[in-house]
């Protein structure tokens, strides 16, 4: 593991690795995602208790919820690695994660909101701790991007962003445990919990496979953005050399 990191911390190695990893992740992720969607939309029996057919939205909602938390953790970890060891690639990763994370958080909010209209009878609850903590996550992503964009140099943007990202990380456990601490309309955990999953296998397997598929897609997107960033940095450097700077 340690070896792998030191290999990947080198941008050239990273470009070499990601050149093959990106298309593979896209294709495998698409296949798994398509399979789980097929299962979700046509194969799985509807669960009347969860609002009938609308519960099929679970197969988008739940992975997107896990992924947006995971992406924030990724952002925090990448920021930490950059802050301590100054691996430039970690900063490139953090920068790439932010927009994907914001998009997935928006997706989680949107699907939850649609589902909520069907089951709770309302699109939005201003005092539900689960909804609010996810909304805070969304604003953390936005704030992170805004802060980076506002700072003049890449170095200072990276440092300021890292500080913010690390502070914001406390919000993730807050999201996870919000349903346990406060009274929330949102249901408690049924998959990721100490006693093991409580979901029937018909639901659980497509859900997990769909999660894996979307996870691969997300990784592919992040890697794509990272490659673009590295290329643009290299182009900048080349340009500067051409112009006789440096």
């Amino acid at each position: 593991m340690g070896h792998m990191w030191s290999v990947l911390a080198n941008p050239h190695r990273f470009l070499g690795f990601s050149r093959y990893a990106v298309p593979s992740a896209y294709s495998l992720g698409l296949i798994l995602f398509a399979w789980s969607l097929y299962q979700a939309l046509w194969r799985v029996p509807p669960d009347e208790f969860q609002g009938g057919d609308i519960m099929r939205g679970m197969f988008v909602h739940v992975p997107s919820a896990w992924l947006c938390m995971g992406l924030y953790l990724g952002l925090a970890v990448a920021s930490f690695v950059w802050f301590i060891w100054r691996h430039e690639l970690a900063d490139v990763a953090a920068r790439a994660i932010a927009p994907v994370g914001a998009a997935y958080t928006a997706l989680c909010l949107a699907t939850g909101s649609v589902w909520g209209k069907a089951t709770w009878g309302t699109w939005w609850l201003w005092d539900d701790p689960r909804i609010m903590s996810v909304l805070v996550l969304f604003f953390l992503f936005l704030g992170y991007m805004a802060l980076r964009a506002a700072l003049e140099t890449r170095q200072s943007a990276a440092r300021a962003g890292a500080i913010l990202a690390m502070i914001g990380a406390v919000n993730v456990p807050l999201i996870k445990f919000s349903v346990d601490i406060w009274a929330s309309l949102h249901q408690g955990p049924s998959v990721i919990r100490a006693e093991g999953p409580a979901l029937a296998a018909v639901y659980l397997h497509p859900l997990l496979i769909g999660f894996l598929g979307q996870g691969l897609l997300v990784s592919a997107m992040v890697l794509t953005l990272m490659r673009a960033e590295i290329f643009s940095q290299q182009a900048d450097r080349l340009m500067a050399r051409r112009l006789g700077g440096g």
Binding site: W124, W126, D127, L142, A150
Partner: protein, 219 residues
């Protein structure tokens, strides 16, 4: 009088506003963030919410005008750009007006464009969307104008933040009242006319006041 100085002061101010903070992302995030904060402070029973929804946005607009303009004139004073503008033959009040309009267009106008979206979120009846957009547009402009006067007056004061807020709040009141009524009653009612009048009044009075305050700050 030549138009170039006015045009350039607009361009400079828009660039200043734009460069400092991630373009449009910032005001959009800001308005959404404030809208999010208020239900916690004020309670969120659904009927209350659709009632206070527009109120939240008024507060967000007032806050945006305060925090935006606070830095503008103070920065001009400290970096010496104010000296240069004061020496232009173009009236400093026109330049100040242009700067204010520029900052409004970057930090206040987005709320107008987002109004339909917020209307959905707060379950406001759709037929009030157009009056609400007009009210946020005119009202926001007025907030920025009076906020500009307050900011120019306290540009040379060290702890201007609270002072600006204190100076601006009473000036905001009439706009807030008529604007709030316009959102509720639409264009037919006289409230809209009063709102329009208060905006025109601000457009007439605020620029010379800003000009005088800025001359004073440069002295």
């Amino acid at each position: 009088m030549r138009a170039a100085p006015i045009r350039r002061s607009f361009v400079q101010a828009v660039m200043e506003a734009w460069s400092g903070g991630a373009g449009l992302l910032l005001p959009v995030g800001f308005f959404s963030g404030t809208a999010m904060l208020v239900p916690f402070a004020l309670g969120s029973a659904p009927d209350v919410l659709s009632d206070i929804g527009p109120g939240m946005l008024w507060l967000a607009l007032a806050l945006a005008s305060l925090v935006t303009l606070e830095r503008v004139f103070q920065a001009d004073l400290h970096d010496g750009a104010l000296d240069l503008w004061v020496q232009e033959p173009a009236a400093i009040s026109l330049v100040a007006l242009t700067k204010t309009l520029a900052h409004w267009s970057v930090s206040g106008l987005p709320l107008v464009l987002l109004t339909p979206l917020y209307g959905l979120m707060f379950q406001v009846p759709p037929e009030t969307t157009l009056p609400a957009m007009a009210a946020f547009g005119l009202g926001g402009l007025t907030f920025f104008l009076w906020g500009g006067v307050a900011a120019a007056l306290s540009a040379s004061v060290a702890r201007g933040g609270l002072l600006i807020a204190l100076l601006a709040l009473p000036l905001y009141l009439p706009t807030l009242i008529f604007g709030g009524l316009t959102v509720k009653t639409g264009f037919e009612d006289s409230a809209f006319l009063f709102l329009l009048a208060s905006t025109l009044f601000a457009l007439g009075v605020a620029p010379p006041a800003m000009g005088a305050a800025l001359r004073l700050a440069a002295d």
